[in-house]
Symmetry: C2
Subunit: 112 residues, 2 copies
């Protein structure tokens, strides 16, 4: 894992549309049209975000030449998570308090 | 947690100097001078990075008015980790394979 890969991964994650695209792809491959659907965005706007995700190596193209489905690549996300987890043990919050934050977030997310 | 907070957190993490500053602060408060020391960087350059970290809420100023030590704020980092972990279960890698990646990264890091 290089610093440049982490830079690209975190930069790609710093946008709500790109995070939503990754969240959608986490549940399976999707074509650009399928990805554009839930967003109030044109296909070119979505394609621009996809290009950022592809350049960062977070998204690749599936084999179907017609649909050109996009696919999530887990490894860079795993490496970004690992970077954060490496420092978790030093964070100001005790594990116990961090667990409480995570639990609270999960509850809030479920309600949405 | 708002989308804007996650945007700011991930954008702040997308730079190797800022990640190094956070890593340093994970082991305790430090003044700007102390933070600048390990980097081949001027104090103003470090201050610029600190401003990004402060605006994102990842770093705050400690109470000592003379030293103005900088302090890591864990909550936004915990929230960014939680976002990534929410999708981990869907990632292409099985938990087993992800664990292998994390283990490998830890070993590599220990060797450095």
């Amino acid at each position: 894992m290089t610093a440049a890969q982490l830079d690209a991964t975190f930069a790609a994650l710093a946008d709500p549309t790109r995070r939503a695209i990754l969240a959608r792809l986490a549940s399976g491959e999707a074509s650009v049209n399928e990805l554009a659907e839930p967003f109030a965005m044109t296909q070119p706007a979505i394609s621009k975000h996809l290009k950022v995700l592809e350049r960062a190596g977070l998204v690749t193209r599936g084999r179907d030449a017609q649909r050109r489905p996009r696919k999530l690549e887990a490894k860079p996300l795993a490496e970004a998570t690992a970077w954060l987890e490496e420092y978790r043990k030093h964070w100001d919050l005790s594990f116990h308090r961090l667990d409480a934050v995570l639990e609270e977030m999960k509850r809030t997310r479920r309600k949405r």
